[in-house]
């Protein structure tokens, strides 16, 4: 039984696609797609997002499972950090041996 039948939805659910490139260590978000279920979402991600050798590993996540911050709360969430430059580790001397930090 497909997700459509379970939910009665007319359109297939949306999935977010994350692809890890050959050289990359992390999976990066590269887009989204519609698919009836998880195995099909993986196949479609392969066909839509890795057809030019972009990746060696794919994650798909139901978009509905992602909890996102509210754009309307952007100022409350992020503006207070504007004047707190002291949180960057640039106000003390590092030992030379550390070189690149």
């Amino acid at each position: 039984m497909s997700i459509n039948q379970q939910t009665g939805a007319q359109e297939w659910p949306l999935w977010e696609v994350f692809v890890r490139s050959k050289a990359g260590l992390d999976h990066k978000h590269c887009g989204s797609l519609h698919a009836p279920d998880a195995p099909m979402a993986l196949q479609m991600a392969r066909d839509v997002y890795t057809r030019r050798q972009e990746g060696v590993s794919i994650w798909v996540v139901p978009s509905s499972a992602i909890v996102a911050s509210d754009p309307g709360e952007k100022s409350m969430y992020f503006d207070p950090m504007e004047d707190k430059v002291y949180r960057h580790p640039t106000f003390y001397d590092l030992p030379k041996e550390l070189d690149h930090m």
């Binding site: 497909s2 039948q5 297939w12 797609l33 519609h34 698919a35 009836p36 279920d37 195995p39 099909m40 196949q43 479609m44 392969r46 066909d47 839509v48 057809r51």
Partner: protein, 261 residues
Amino acid sequence: MTKVSNVVDDAGAQYLLRLGDACLVLSHRLSEWCGHAPMLEEDLALGNIALDLLGQARALLTRAGQLQAQAGGPALDEDQLAYLREERHFLNPVLMELPRGDFAFTQTRNLMVACWLLPLWDRLRASSDAEVAAIAGKAVKEVQYHQQHAADWVVRLGDGTEESTRRMQAALAQLWPYVGELFASDDIDAAAQASGLGPSWAELRDDWDSAMAAVLAEAKLPRPQDTPHVYAGRRGVHSEHMGHMLSTMQMLQRTYPGGVW
């Protein structure tokens, strides 16, 4: 326009052309879905599969042309073989040339063909022809994915809604009579088997039956009855659809002979 003598009569070349034409013709049928698939994602999936098959066809047609030349025939390249042969000289099974039908028809045929190509390419990896073995090594990975993708659709549609089940049963009933040709064997097969070029197609039947049975069981679709008639596309006897398809497929090259990108 010079008339190309495009009759391939070397047994090894014909054996490869049968497979190459099967890939080429199905690739063309799948390319017809471009822009017409039920959803964007599947449009790309079908296009990818069509391009995989086209790549396999190009390699096989090229090799068939070389074998024909080695046997003293004219040196024909992949384009001459694809675009300048007459209908009667195409050697694909009739199954591949049938019009694309609806989505259920297309996925069912893709499954049938993938379940046939997989054991065939798998055996061709051990071909006595190093070139063919190398083509097979690449193709087998592509076809594994084709089989999985088609099988997943067949299961979803077969065990889906009332309408999808009805369409899948209709597709199976329409396609099943063309299956026998995939496992017919004749002197061309015997020669290929003897020389180690590749297996007799008859040898693939057991693998095909068990792979199809597993998917049909999961899809809750009954296996249709086998029918006695065996089509003869691989001897150049095609259905009424083939000529129409070729007129589209060959139109550019026949209108502008020798035209290249």
